[in-house]
């Protein structure tokens, strides 16, 4: 099996060993979304629950009825319905930031960290992860800005073409390039996050440098693995939408709920799979070369959960 294959399968093994993380994250997202959509739900209840006209939304989906619902004064502005959902989505992001160190603790440990160990890792690394996010924003923000500016410029140029397909192909190609560049940045910072957790690194800038160094060693290996997993995520999405559309009756609320939530779980699973692959890659790449004849040194034990392979801190002997 190729290195990418190893990475993907190792990542898959890790993520499957810690399925509960995915379930917890999913549950958290679902709960927050319930709060975020409460305003819309209440407004919809008031309008729809006693109206026969609502049948047009239940037995099929008449878009004009939905538009009419949104345009009613009782429903309020669209922003009134969407903004709470947006806030709770940001809350999920913050919660993910808070809980991710615990997840990475689990992914880099041989055993299953206890709840206490999980939250200790979260607490210990919270501020570090916030700083990492800031580093990410400093790096990815301008690059994303430049990339989208280039995309807009190319789109403008392509728009002058007399071939109608040129703008489309230009958009697809530039989007793919942006995807790969942003994925590479994401890999870099995913590795930096692993580095922070594994090395208990307070100096986040050193982890940022380490992440870049590790990512740069085999740039295409990780990119291929991440892209492959993203493709799986996309397939899940497409298949899910197809099942939802083809096999679920329009009025089956439970069926639609199940399919949609399974899709979201699998999508979450794809992202965690990427993280597990990053953890596996990091641990593999951070092994200190050991002379064949030399006596094996005892691995530094980090209590309570030890990483699979300990890294050697830069410029210093292992503790």
């Amino acid at each position: 099996m190729s290195d990418e294959g190893n990475l993907i399968s190792t990542g898959l093994r890790i993520v499957n060993r810690h399925k509960r993380y995915i379930l917890w994250f999913w549950l958290l997202n679902l709960t927050l979304a319930e709060f975020g959509t409460a305003a819309f739900r209440n407004q919809a209840h008031a309008v729809l629950d006693h109206s026969l006209f609502a049948d047009k939304l239940l037995h099929g989906f008449d878009l004009s009825v939905f538009v009419e619902l949104l345009s009613r004064p009782e429903t309020g502005s669209v922003a009134g319905s969407t903004m709470p959902a947006m806030y709770f989505a940001i809350l999920f992001l913050v919660a993910s930031l808070l809980l991710m160190p615990g997840v990475l603790e689990g992914y880099t440990s041989e055993g299953r960290p206890s709840r206490e160990e999980f939250f200790r890792a979260c607490g210990r690394n919270l501020w570090r992860f916030v700083r990492l996010l800031l580093f990410f924003a400093i790096v990815a923000g301008p690059i994303t800005g430049v990339l989208f500016a280039i995309k807009a410029g190319l789109a403008k140029l392509a728009d002058k073409s007399t071939n109608e397909m040129t703008p489309f192909y230009t958009s697809v190609l530039t989007s793919l390039v942006i995807f790969f560049i942003l994925t590479a940045i994401r890999i870099w910072f995913d590795l930096a996050q692993v580095d922070v957790v594994v090395r208990d690194q307070s100096a986040v800038r050193k982890s940022v440098a380490a992440g870049l160094r590790y990512a740069g060693r085999h740039p295409f290996r990780m990119l291929t693995a991440y892209s492959g997993i993203t493709l799986v995520g996309l397939l899940v999405l497409v298949t899910g939408v197809w099942i939802w559309h083809s096999l679920i009756r329009p009025n089956s609320v439970v069926g639609a709920l199940l399919v949609s939530q399974v899709m979201l779980i699998l999508w979450l699973w794809a992202r965690f799979w990427q993280r597990a692959a990053a953890a596996a890659y990091y641990l593999r790449e951070s092994v200190v070369p050991v002379p064949v004849l030399a006596a094996p040194e005892p691995a530094p034990v980090r209590e309570p959960a030890a990483p699979l392979v300990p890294p050697a801190p830069e410029g210093a002997a292992p503790a």
């Binding site: 819309f40 739900r41 729809l48 109206s51 026969l52 009419e68 345009s71 940001i90 071939n163 109608e164």
Partner: protein, 667 residues
């Protein structure tokens, strides 16, 4: 026989010089007597051996288009036949392309109210358009260029140059003809209001000086407004366009001739009979499709100019075009022209969805899925304008609802007939929209702003113009079907078409025709729906079912045995008075239908039955399209939360997806 021939010869010798003298005398004075009208009686562009309209104008235009500069140099000989019954010494002309200048009324209004195409957040050179008269000569009266004067009859905006007038030194007598020789220079803007260029595409619409219409005893020649279209007299058009040979050209009327010139240009000549405008288009990349529709008056040549990337949709376009033609001929009357050109315009241009006589533009994209009927809808709608604008040539400045609105109604009828009423706009991934709902949605947000009978440029906003003119008119006529019957509305429209084709009818002509055909006085309806801004909104205000013996100590409810006193209260929330039907459904399956004239503000219905009310619905057959709020038209006794749960599930899913997407990239 010989004697008779001699007599004829003698007559000719005596009479011809006299006629010649009269002609010369008239010409020397700049006008032609009625007996010598210069308007041709040609019929080569129509399936009729005689002219179909009272021809007032004849345009003979030659133009040379420069695709690099997007400009055109043209010369026009306009012959006007004075059929007004009175002498005319003043003639106003439209110069529509002058609308696309920053201080023009069109741009001012567009900036303030919005348009469907351009926002004008920033003025750009490419937005500029102009129609400049280089010289203006009246045959027999000489060069009157210096006498031209811009006028602003609607708003007094001195910077608006969309109407110019000439006062002649001598009036044109009733029955006389007059000829204007005009040289002009057009600068086309990047497409705005369905005229102009985009990349190497050009749509030449409203591109030549065009005389106003003498209507209801006065000149009717409005400035060009952001919400108005056009108004012109019927006549004959002979147009020659010179442009590069690589251009594929399409235009109103029939193609008469194509000459390849030595300088790499071609001159194409078109002829149109009984039309009131002329548009053309050119692009090097059109793919041409041709077909024929066998109309009741003769064959109609269908010519499609498609974008290469849309060529796969050619069959779709032909199919809906033929279906529409077939429906219109069957329902409303014959299509008399020999041609119809359908242009699939340049992508992202503001040229899609436009009508000119025998020439329409569609609207599509390369990825248009089969269940999205936008191309079909646009083709149907624009073809419909061949009837409601093209032949029944109402005043689009003042009575926009008579062309756009009546056309939106017939669009609903045809689209519902071709597709299904519930999916005649969209049927994709289980999501559906019917065309009549699209019409309704357009106006319910602006239901009380403007009446239909309002000049197009006096509407409160662009949304109101669009919603009321298109959506409300269609809804008014769909709801009228409930009052006089669907067949009667169709019959009335046929009568209206056959009676007023090739004329300029008024709103009252239309309304009186409906009343005449239906045999009913419909003023109560028209006064509210056409002349008024009354809002139509009925609601089921309250329903209740209480056991008759509720007070008894041993009382227990038993289904099928307990007797209930049930009450229903219907409320006329809006100020539009209309008789409605109400269906009351009981939990034993029994249904009761009630009638209410809607005169009072509310009405109560009471029942004593061994059953409770399950639901009540106003307009149970869903014939009323005017009601602003369909949710309150019904009420169920018990809540049914399934629809809300379904929507909440969608909303949750989208919200969770967004949260996961955000987190995927940022954490």
């Amino acid at each position: 026989m010989a004697l008779r021939r001699a007599f004829l010869l003698l007559s000719a010798v005596l009479i011809l010089p006299i006629l010649g003298y009269c002609q010369a005398a008239a010409t020397s004075k700049g006008a032609h007597p009625a007996t010598a009208s210069l308007i041709p009686e040609t019929t080569s562009a129509i399936n009729s051996s005689t002219p179909l309209s009272q021809r007032v104008v004849a345009y003979n235009i030659e133009g040379r288009y420069d695709p690099k500069m997007h400009s055109l140099d043209g010369s026009e000989i306009l012959t006007y036949h004075n059929l007004t019954g009175q002498p005319l010494d003043r003639f106003p002309f439209h110069l529509y392309l002058n609308a696309f200048q920053p201080k023009a009324t069109w741009i001012r209004e567009a900036k303030a109210m919005g348009t469907r195409d351009v926002t004008y957040e920033k003025w750009e050179d490419k937005d500029y358009g102009s129609d400049e008269i280089k010289s203006f000569e009246v045959v027999g009266m000489g060069d009157l260029t210096s006498k031209l004067e811009y006028i602003q009859p609607d708003d007094g905006n001195k910077d608006d140059k969309t109407v110019v007038q000439i006062v002649l030194p001598r009036a044109v007598a009733p029955g006389e003809s007059i000829q204007f020789k005009i040289k002009f220079h057009d600068q086309f803007p990047e497409t705005q209001a369905r005229s102009g260029w985009k990349r190497d595409f050009i749509l030449g619409g409203q591109w030549f000086p065009k005389v106003g219409v003498w209507w209801n005893g006065a000149w009717n020649c409005h400035q060009y407004h952001a919400t108005t279209e056009f108004f012109a007299d019927f006549g004959v058009y002979d147009v020659s366009l010179t442009l590069p040979q690589y251009e594929v050209v399409g235009a109103s009327g029939v193609l008469v001739n194509t000459v390849k010139n030595a300088d790499g240009t071609q001159t194409v000549t078109y002829h149109g009979d009984d039309i009131h405008d002329f548009a053309w288009t050119a692009s090097p990349r059109y793919k041409v499709g041709e077909d024929t529709f066998q109309g009741t008056m003769g064959p109609v040549q269908l010519r499609l100019l498609m974008q290469p990337a849309h060529w796969g949709q050619e069959a779709r376009h032909v199919k809906i075009l033929k279906q529409t033609l077939e429906h219109f001929e069957r329902w409303y009357g014959p299509y008399p022209y020999k041609t119809l050109t359908l242009v699939d315009p340049e992508p992202d241009s503001a040229a899609g969805g436009m009508e000119y006589p025998t020439f329409i533009t569609g609207d599509s994209t390369w990825w248009m899925p089969d269940g999205v009927y936008l191309p079909e809808l646009v083709v149907e709608h624009e073809f419909g304008h061949q009837y409601w604008y093209g032949m029944v040539a109402t005043n689009e400045f003042e009575d926009a609802w008579l062309d756009e609105g009546v056309n939106s109604y017939t669009e609903c009828k045809v689209m519902d007939s071709v597709f299904s009423p519930k999916t005649s706009f969209l049927s994709q991934f289980g999501i559906t929209v019917g065309n009549r709902e699209v019409q309704r949605i357009q106006f319910i947000g602006v239901a009380d702003l403007d009446p239909l009978a309002r000049k197009a440029y006096e509407y409160a906003s662009f949304n109101s113009y669009g919603g009321v003119t298109y959506g409300k008119t269609a809804s008014v006529l769909l709801t009228l079907e409930m009052v006089i019957g669907e067949d009667t509305v169709q019959k009335a429209l046929r009568t209206y078409f056959m009676r007023y084709r090739f004329t300029h009818p008024t709103k009252e002509d239309f309304l009186k025709t409906i009343e005449e055909v239906s045999g009913k006085d419909l003023r109560w309806y028209f006064n509210q729906a056409v002349y008024g801004t009354q809002v139509f909104d009925y609601e089921v205000m309250r329903i209740s079912s209480d056991p008759v013996n509720w007070y008894k100590k041993d009382f227990k409810e038993k289904k099928g045995e307990t007797v209930y006193d049930s009450r229903v209260r219907i409320h006329r929330k809006g100020d539009f008075v209309f008789p409605v039907e109400i269906e009351v459904k009981f939990d034993n399956g029994e249904k009761v239908r009630e009638q209410w004239d809607g005169q009072d503000r509310w009405v109560r219905f009471t029942y004593r039955k061994k059953a409770k009310i399950e639901s009540v619905e106003v307009d149970p057959d869903h014939k009323i399209n005017l009601d602003r709020d369909n949710f309150n038209n019904s009420r169920t006794a018990d809540p049914r939360a399934a629809a809300t749960r379904k929507l909440a599930n969608y909303w949750n899913f989208l919200s969770q997806t967004f949260a996961q997407f955000l987190t995927w990239w940022l954490v």
